[in-house]
Amino acid sequence: MELVLTEDQELLSKTAHDFVRQHSPLSRLRALRDAGDPVGFSPDLWKQMAELGWVGILVPEEYGGAGMGMADFVVVLEALGRTLAPEPFLSTVLLAGQLLAHAGSAAQKEASLPGLAAGERILTVAYQEARSRYDLQRVATKAERQGESWVLSGEKIQVLDGGAVEAFLVSARTAGEANDPNGITLFLVSRDTPGVSVTLQHRVDDRAAALVGLNGVKVSQAQVVGTVDGGYPMLSHVVDRATVGLCAEMLGGMSQIFEMTLEYLKTRVQFGTIIGTFQALKHRAAKLFMEIELARSTVMAAARAVDAGTADFTQLVCLAKARCSDAYVLAANEGVQMHGGIGMTDEHDAGFYLKRARAAEMTFGDASWHRQRWAQLQGY
């Protein structure tokens, strides 16, 4: 496992950074927010990203994708994270796409993956509930057998890109108690199924999310993804992989806010001198630099472990998510602080990173949650 970009990855990284600079400045997210856009991203740009091969990057070639690995994908996600591009990579590519690719039946893959890779189908996973926090097995939503069908009822929260998707992968309890990892089943539920209600949620980071109500929603056996009662291990595995992708986005975000802050330190004058000459600020900047360098190493290692399928994969996921969460929040907090008053204004971009850092931190488990998990994995 070499922790260095290959020449192809260097090239991919450059293309992605150039694209982001040209087509996806932060002002785009700001405009979508100001317009109260219910979709929350730019469908046209999504199409372009699909044409570049990014949307289908992980999808196997037989289903129209590029069949590349996580070590390649993280390079793209990092670039997109620099300007907080709100396109549905997490929901459609990393969660739904990967779940279908790993657990879906041949028919499900055939029906979903080519359209997904082409940028035509937006899909997501509805896995969180009001009191589930970060525990994927804490599922109260019920699925009851009715002859050849299943009937779903419950409510899922903060379903990513819920306003734009055409179908959800829903985790529901088919057996066991509320916190039991056994007895969870995944269902592919089309948005227009009777009984499905979608209410947009406004989150602090301006990413599109929704409450999804399931009120006696009837689905067929063919809509079960994977095995009945066996959904948890698959979901957990895919969420771990998706976490690595999220970490790459976070790495891009923290790098960008850090560079903005550095730029400010080199230009802002107070007391007749550039504030970057003050050692109190210099040392904090140097420490932040180290934290980001360490975060980068963990993301690269975790992405390579995903591709290699090595045994320490989960441990490296915990490491990457804990470090990226802490480093991003620190970079954003310090960014606002070192910008002074201007950093607190909506007009300035710093606040967008502050908000996204928190939202990303609280997606797929925050730093302390992953540290607990690490200790458990290590046997203490």
Binding site: E2, L3, V4, L262, L265, K266, I274, G276, T277, Q279, K282, H283, A285, A286, K287, F289, M290, E293, L294, A295, R296, S297, T298, M300, A301, C318, L319, A322, R323, R371, Q372, W374, A375, Q376, Q378, G379, Y380
Partner: protein, 395 residues
């Protein structure tokens, strides 16, 4: 191209034929290795023999050129050698400032004659070196140093005082910085010169440390005569050499502490001293601290790997040795403090009854570790270097 597979097989065979049985499995604490020199004492009678057989092949300095008695190995071969040594649990045959600091600098800046004179003696462990940089008034602000060297014929006459000179009292030679032009800007009047410690007028007095040991000295220099041919690089150009050497020093210090290697894990320590609720450490605060330390340690190790992989791929890292120096040494300090916390009152022993050897060592290692963020340039100075050279922040 040498066949690496064959090289590995031959190396394995040679090591198992030649490494004295008494050194296998010998684990040496930090600072307890074999430092060589004319006044060497060996931690184990087989250690001397081990050093000699390795030195004869140049394998005390595997990557140095064979023409100066080094091993002449490529990076890949040297890596194989390290791996095979680790597999047989063999200790480093020789360590010290000669191998880690002055040797690399001589190879870069020395004349042919200087290399021929000094490098082979470093390789075979005949000469032990010390570092005469710091002075009572010049620590972090090293370039302000005052020890004076005045040219008389073909000798310099040196007067002044050095301080914190690690192991000056056991060393045969010192590489040092002296002021040769008091009029020039402070960085421009400094010369890097080599001094035989047996020269009349050199006196080294040990200083006792909080850990109880006295590894470093005050070194007094009174009318000391040093041949002008001992100058490395050019007169008044010593600062360039000094900085190159500091890079080696910081890398060495960071490498000594980061990563952890095959040390006992925190969990092993915790199992000995703290209650477990089944599989879970009962003390939650301690558990959190251990996790934090272990995760930071792994992140640091991965970063060191990344830097090495980038260098191998022909993308040399920037002036990042400062980052490794800060993070590596501070991690080691955290490790020591955490071990104290885990061990509890048993970590308070100084000597005598009621404490195991391991516990007593822990106490002293903890005290010694406070120096990690001071020696080789303090953490504050390293942060200044990162701010300036890596981040481009103004002075």
């Amino acid at each position: 191209m040498v066949d690496l597979g064959q090289f590995r097989a031959e190396t394995r065979q040679w090591l198992s034929d030649n490494a004295p049985v008494g050194v296998r499995g010998l684990t040496l604490a930090i600072g307890e290795g074999n430092w060589g020199g004319r006044r060497a004492t060996y931690p184990n009678p087989n250690m001397k023999r081990w050093m000699e057989v390795m030195a004869a092949r140049g394998w005390t300095a595997p990557e140095w050129p064979a023409q100066y008695s080094g091993g002449g190995l490529s990076k890949a071969e040297a890596k194989i050698l390290r791996e095979e040594m680790a597999a047989l649990r063999l200790p480093e045959p020789l360590s010290g400032f000669g191998l880690t600091m002055i040797g690399p600098v001589l190879l870069q800046y020395g004349t042919e004659e200087q290399k021929r004179e000094h490098i082979p003696k470093i390789v075979c462990g005949e000469i032990r070196w010390c570092q005469g940089y710091s002075e009572p008034g010049s620590g972090s602000d090293l370039a302000s140093l005052q020890t004076k060297a005045v040219l008389h014929g073909d000798h310099y006459v040196i007067n002044g005082q050095k301080v914190w000179t690690s192991y000056a009292n056991y060393s045969d030679w010192m590489f040092m910085l002296v002021r040769t032009d008091p009029q020039a800007k402070k960085q421009e009047g400094i010369t890097f010169i080599l001094l035989d410690m047996t020269t009349p007028g050199v006196e080294a007095k040990p200083i006792k440390l909080i850990s109880g040991s006295s590894p470093f000295c005050e070194t007094f220099l009174t009318d000391v005569l040093v041949p002008a041919k001992n100058v490395i690089s050019r007169v008044n150009d010593g600062w360039t050499v000094a900085k190159a050497l500091l890079n080696h020093e910081r890398t060495m210090i960071a490498a000594a502490f980061g990563g952890g290697g095959k040390k006992r894990t925190m969990r092993d320590w915790a199992r000995d001293y703290v209650e477990f609720d089944g599989e879970r450490l009962a003390d939650d605060g301690l558990r959190q601290r251990i996790v934090q330390y272990e995760m930071d340690n792994l992140a640091f190790k991965l970063t060191a790997d990344r830097s090495r992989d980038a260098a191998k791929a022909g993308r040399p890292p920037g002036p990042e040795s400062s980052m490794f120096k800060i993070y590596g040494t501070e991690l080691n300090q955290r490790r020591q403090e955490l071990l104290l916390a885990i061990t509890g009152p048993q970590a308070l022993g100084w000597e005598g009854a009621g404490f195991t050897e391991r516990e007593l060592t822990l106490t002293r290692d903890w005290l010694r570790s406070r120096g990690n963020s001071i020696e080789g340039g303090t953490s504050e100075i390293q942060l200044n270097i990162i701010a300036k050279r890596v981040l481009g922040l103004p002075d």
